[in-house]
Symmetry: C2
């Protein structure tokens, strides 16, 4: 059994802010990151919650990311916002770019936000959910350091875990959002399994000799595999091209090569697309979404993607979250310096 | 052994045109469809080649699709082209909409083409490949009649096989294009397995009782499954929303309910997105694509998506294709009336 402490979501936010400030971030950046961390723990996405704060702090302390970056918003084309993030953390860059992305998506019907030079821990639903709350269908693509072999490959890491997220507005309810790695498992999931002594599931990855293994530590040293065979491999490749090459970001291999071992977020490219159903002429879009979801849920074994997150959200907002005591102490030590 | 006849690609095109004309299509529609059919057989994608022509003809003869449709191009928004396809066949609608999509993608950086009311057999690379030849990164999403259970479901068909395609330009070479169903197998693949007495692979689908089976005919009566578990199920849902709900097309269930059993192409929605790397400011995009592909291919076990198609293309252009004699005779009978 792992000894835990109970924290309110506000505690998670405040501890994260304090640790980031103590590691050299300015308040704007610290609060933008801490909001993502709090929302991850709120939604039961432990692998992107306060678990990541020591990594953020190490990256700041190592000077690998710029915790005082002032992201600059560039009106790149009528349908494209580009952010010069200046090697800062993604959360503030996305927050600052969002208003222009929304304006362009309303005016053009479809618009994209491209960030080539920020550091990202790749929880993507914080990027797409606010766009769906504002009424847009949103997609987001991020690459990361190279951990994943292309379909057919066994030893050579080429892609990041390369997640994508998709969000749709709902009438009077939280949006439907999914956020999934193109790898069979998220990197954080494998790290948590290694930490907690759990086995890796079949298909998560191969050891450094290219052999199947259920040892998460061996996979962390070897390669992760795409989900769903060659089709998931194609998704990983698509995300790599959209996130890195269309934004001018580092490819996952380039990010791996420039990585200095700080344990923090990866340099990564990041593409967000927003589409306005009204501009497409679809005025009964929200009604039809509910009809589609009803058809899916007519089978009691089917759940909507993200439902677990929304259910946990209600619970953690009331009862807080359980955090390993060692992690809590680690964050306290960062704050106390 | 199935007895076959050898046809040149020009024979495939001409037989298809003649059969479609004999079934009531006009020349413009017949040639647009026949070009897709020829290119499918050219690229070894038998399941979308002349194999589909009797289905197209049956749909035309049943009056289920309009073989003389004049698709109308609508300038829906600065970033959106909409096509009123008038219940016609998708190939002509896409061909007619493409110039405005290209113009908008050049001007805005990103643009979309939406078709809500055409009938589609869901080979998508003919939609994205020409956009990549013109220099754009392209995505395409189509839904179809309901054949596929959502993740977790066992008996209830909700989604089409819901393919997506992604294409990237290459310097002086054919684009990299993938085109894959969100189901574990394409419908045509299962139909061909049933026709030729082959077994279904594990994960393709369930029989009408919701049980696993390797009998392709039982799967055709039961449900197909998404590829890659719940992540592929999320992709199927995303394609359904983009293709049907954002375009005003019928959902896969609505298409299933309005289907009259003609064996022809499904009513389906269809969304194509084109992005211009130059408008994103990425002037070394083509060079970086080649560098990424080189890194992938450094592992001799890795192939690029679509490579098999390109290799077959060279072969079939020289040697033609083998078609089952019964299929050839069926097409001849349609032509002879």
């Amino acid at each position: 059994m792992i000894e835990t402490v109970n924290l309110s979501l506000n505690d998670v936010f405040q501890l994260s802010v304090d640790a980031l400030l103590a590691s050299g971030a300015n308040r704007k950046n610290a609060e933008a990151v801490a909001a993502v961390v709090r929302n991850a723990d709120r939604d039961g996405c432990t692998s992107h919650g306060i678990f990541r704060v020591p990594g953020y702090c190490a990256a700041l302390q190592a000077g690998a990311v710029n915790g005082c970056a002032e992201p600059r918003v560039i009106d790149q084309a009528p349908g494209i916002v580009r952010i010069e993030a200046n090697n800062g953390l993604a959360p503030l860059a996305v927050e600052i770019g969002r208003p222009m992305l929304i304006k362009k998506a309303e005016e053009q019907g479809i618009a994209a936000l491209a960030i080539g030079d920020s550091a990202h821990f790749a929880a993507l639903w914080p990027d797409t959910e606010p766009l769906a709350v504002a009424g847009f269908v949103a997609m987001s693509f991020v690459n990361s350091r190279a951990f994943v072999a292309p379909a057919g490959g066994k030893k050579r890491r080429v892609f990041g875990t390369n997640p994508m997220s998709f969000a749709v507005p709902r009438n009077g309810r939280a949006p439907m959002v999914f956020d999934q790695a193109a790898s069979a498992a998220a990197r954080g999931e494998i790290m948590l399994a290694a930490r907690d002594g759990h086995k890796a599931l079949p298909g998560w990855g191969l050891d450094p000799n290219g052999e199947e293994t259920d040892d998460p530590s061996a996979i962390l040293k070897g390669v992760q595999l795409p989900f769903g065979g060659y089709k998931g491999g194609a998704i990983a490749l698509m995300v790599e091209i959209l996130a890195a090459l269309l934004t001018g970001g580092e490819t996952s291999l380039e990010a791996e090569r420039s990585y200095t071992g700080h344990g923090g977020p990866s340099a990564a490219g990041h593409l967000i697309i927003a589409m306005d159903p009204k501009s497409f002429g679809q005025h009964s879009f929200l009604k039809r979404i509910e009809e589609l979801f009803e058809e899916m849920l007519a089978d009691p074994e089917v759940r909507l993607p993200g439902d677990r997150r929304l259910a946990l959200r209600a619970k953690t907002e009331e009862k807080g979250v359980e955090i390993p005591r060692t992690l809590f102490q680690q964050v306290r030590e960062i704050i106390e310096g």
